[in-house]
Symmetry: C2
DNA sequence: ATAATATATACAAGTATTATAATATGTTAA
DNA sequence: TTAACATATTATAATACTTGTATATATTAT
């Protein structure tokens, strides 16, 4: 099974505005490079670089179709990350109960902020 | 509602080995700074810097308890990201059907790789 | 007060990321 | 074969990130 470290690396690769946009497009289906120019508003070489990075990390792949490179999603982790971006989070996690136990022991001090 | 761009930013902040480890610990409950030294294997100033970053982005917060800073999770997005790291992904997404439609049109060319 | 503890801050140095510009490669069409 | 097209590669400069070292601040204990 894939190590946690590897997945953290993938998260970092995914977490970039242009690359997210690319991945979003790919979640709709196969696309070629020039298809990303409009949605990302990035230059062709820049898109090509991002695609290369995503491919080096195994997140996407392509096949040749005439003179087009047809890119598609490979790694299922991408869809889960995109889900998080769609999800609406309301509010915060419940505040912790006072005076928790840490390794240093339990401390009775007052809550100052 | 929180913008997608903001969430991408948060993802990027989260996607760091030391910070993930910190967030993992916090998902178990409240911890003070020195509690992170062992699991992260990072120096105190380094941990403090990462905690500061996580806090600036609103992912965590703390309250004072005597001379300890008790940190806790605030943003629910953190738990969803940690879920992804736990999840076991087997295999790849289904390969795309041949000859998809891109903006450039449908191309009949052979699959070369 | 003073010392010890817990944590933060400032700064410097190294490294990594990003976008841009210029150019190259391979494919199809004329 | 030449032109046009689709895309990649390389170099580079600007910026951002990361960490270590040194030091500062605040709190508690003596």
């Amino acid at each position: 099974m894939r190590s946690v470290d590897k997945k953290i690396e993938l998260l970092k690769v995914i977490a970039h505005p242009v690359r997210i946009q690319i991945l979003k497009e790919l979640s709709k289906g196969v696309k070629c490079v020039s298809d990303f120019e409009e949605p990302t508003q990035a230059s062709q070489p820049n898109i090509s670089q991002h695609l290369g990075l995503l491919r080096r990390y195994g997140l996407i792949d392509y096949y040749m179709d005439g003179r087009l490179r047809c890119y598609f999603l490979v790694d299922p982790i991408v869809l889960d990350v995109l889900e998080i971006l769609k999800k609406e989070y309301k509010g915060s996690l419940p505040a912790p109960a006072c005076c928790p136990v840490t390794k240093k022991g339990t401390y009775p001090g007052n809550r100052r902020r």
